[in-house]
């Protein structure tokens, strides 16, 4: 927010009416850096951290309230909570894991709604920043998913058995040394990297796009530039906003679906 305010303050204060000597304040990496709000010991608390904590608390409180004293016939918040859980179960968990994966439902529900809410924060006034656009917030989630993925795989098949089943049956033995580097690179580097970077990059690009068009709309609100450009940019703000509504949901869905397929993969090899 501080980044946004700093950039907005320049054109709003003097430049956008009389643009002589002023340029378009192009958004950039500075919009993803935030000043410290307060410190706890040596730990600097910034806006993205507060958003992350708020989202975690919101998800916990919502499901806590929904299922505090569950009724046989759900009403009010419990109804909403059940709809949310059933949506994750039927669209993400069951297609990948089937009924035997129901014990992982709390994990997937928490993951999905936490990521979704974190993403939606880029569109909610006052917050207006997706913490997932800072890659440091994504890696702990990836680490959590991967620790579970490997733990389940190693537990079910043992370390050697787990890696042995990486290569599909029917591959000639002399091809194995050629395929091994590809499998190891995919398993240890590329797959966790793409899982994290996809979420981060989508949120980063989305926030940058929104900032570009917000600023352009404000900047072009001047007769000396032309109202036509202002209208075009304002249209793009609405368009990108709606697009981001979809992207926020889609990224949460993809991350959780891939988590479910990884868990299914670790469990399947045991059978």
């Amino acid at each position: 927010m501080t980044g946004d305010v700093q950039v907005l303050a320049a054109p709003a204060g003097s430049c956008h009416i009389n643009i002589k000597g002023c340029g378009y304040p192009a958004p950039g990496l500075q919009d993803f850096d935030f000043q410290t709000i307060f410190k706890i010991g040596g730990f600097h608390v910034t806006k993205p951290i507060l958003i992350a904590i708020l989202c975690a608390i919101s998800v916990i409180v919502f499901f806590g309230v929904a299922f505090w004293r569950p009724k046989v016939v759900p009403r009010g918040v419990q109804n909403l909570g059940e709809m949310a859980i059933l949506a994750v179960r039927d669209q993400i968990l069951r297609p990948s894991l089937g009924r035997r994966g129901d014990s992982y439902l709390p994990f997937l529900v928490s993951l999905f709604f936490y990521i979704w809410l974190m993403n939606l924060m880029e569109l909610i006034p006052f917050f207006q920043f997706p913490s997932m656009s800072r890659i440091g917030f994504v890696w702990p989630l990836v680490l959590m998913v991967y620790v579970l993925y490997w733990y389940l795989g190693f537990k079910n098949q043992g370390v050697w058995g787990y890696f042995r089943t990486m290569i599909p049956p029917g591959v000639p033995w002399f091809i194995l040394p050629i395929l091994l580097p590809v499998e190891l690179a995919r398993f240890f580097i590329v797959q966790p990297f793409t899982l994290g970077v996809r979420l981060f990059a989508n949120m980063f690009a989305g926030h940058l796009l929104l900032t570009i068009f917000y600023l352009a709309t404000w900047y072009m609100l001047s007769l000396s530039i032309g109202l036509l450009f202002f209208v075009g940019s304002a249209f793009m703000v609405v368009f990108v906003f709606l697009l981001e509504l979809l992207v926020d949901l889609l990224q949460a869905f993809i991350f959780t679906t891939l988590t479910a397929t990884y868990i299914a993969d670790s469990l399947e090899r045991a059978h």
Binding site: P95, L179, V182, R186, T257, T261, D265
Partner: protein
């Protein structure tokens, strides 16, 4: 009956979607993984012999191996449905 059918169709569609996402990203990971693995090997060889060419050659070799592997693993009709493709 029709409600049961529509639910079954929706479940089947969701299952296909989940499998599709998993397989799609796995294929993508193989393509990049091949280039990373053999590009890395090429880079190490290049450092050893003080030459630049093993790095791009390694990347291209890795890409070729990945493509062949993907065709072997997923190219056959029904390979994904057999459950080999979720990884």
């Amino acid at each position: 009956m029709s409600s049961y059918r529509s639910r079954a169709a929706a479940a089947s569609s969701a299952e296909g979607g989940a499998r599709g996402i998993g397989v799609g990203w796995t294929v993508f990971s193989y393509l990049i993984g091949g280039m990373v693995a053999y590009g890395g090997i090429g880079w190490l060889v290049g450092r050893g012999i003080h030459a630049a060419w093993p790095f791009p050659v390694g990347m291209l070799t890795g890409l070729g191996i990945s493509l062949g592997y993907i065709i072997f693993r997923y190219g056959r009709q029904g390979a994904v449905e057999e459950g080999r493709g979720n990884r």
